[in-house]
Symmetry: C2
Subunit: 139 residues, 2 copies
Amino acid sequence: MSDTRAYARTLERLKKAGLRPTRQRLALGKLLFEGGHRHVTAEQLHSEAAKNQARVSLATVYNTLHQFTEAGLMREVVVEAGRSYFDTNIDDHHHFFHVDTGELQDISGSDVMVTAMPSMPMGTALDRVDVIIRVRSAA
Amino acid sequence: MSDTRAYARTLERLKKAGLRPTRQRLALGKLLFEGGHRHVTAEQLHSEAAKNQARVSLATVYNTLHQFTEAGLMREVVVEAGRSYFDTNIDDHHHFFHVDTGELQDISGSDVMVTAMPSMPMGTALDRVDVIIRVRSAA
DNA sequence: TCTTTAATTGGAAAAATTCTAAAGGGCTTG
DNA sequence: CAAGCCCTTTAGAATTTTTCCAATTAAAGA
């Protein structure tokens, strides 16, 4: 896919989400939404941007990831103390988390079924159910 | 319950776990395991210890929480970017997480059922399944 | 195009956690 | 019960992760 077309797609995406198509967002969006789904940390995305000649500060990477998340373009997945992953897959799904390697792996929503949901606490409404299956390297 | 008995219980717990019963561990253990189950952050426990005339450095609180967790006396629960909770309830159970308040609330293991488990990725073994039900304040 | 207005950016600061090297304290052995 | 081994604690600094806010930049209207 040509660079121009990649940017055009990202541009479209940003417009739909009501986000200004700035240079930084276009660059990060291109990295995130090109090719298949991804699990990235802010730090990873930041250094990846640097490698691609895109000068973007780490703070902007955080801002952008949060804005994309708020706009429903991504999901935030928290599995480890002091580290957030951002997932470009926004379909209903869950995760394997490799305790030893820190890797995340998607589990299609249909492969996990949560039954017997308890009732919500008073005055609250359901936001989302996260299932994280922690695995470690077999002995 | 008398202080003496409280310490005796914690002492027993530490011995079983193979942890030296130091002054600091006894003080923190007493705070953690007295009364009902608790969800605490390192910072919370640290200031609580200070209020109870127990001089314990923040680094030691972190060390102790991790040691207790490794010894199976507690569980670490990660729900928010940049913050870890430690849970004194080690029974099979899951959590409600209040997105707005940051509060955690236990769900008994029998109230949530995860079925249709996918097979583990190659070369991995199951460690644990975490279910976090995110709720927000009702409109 | 120019101006106004509001969103965006990134350096700096804050918050959370870990590291380090020196001092302290349990526990075993003699 | 003293000596010594070695695990623990500690304070401070370093590191890592995340957020704040003043300067900048983009969008909209004239």
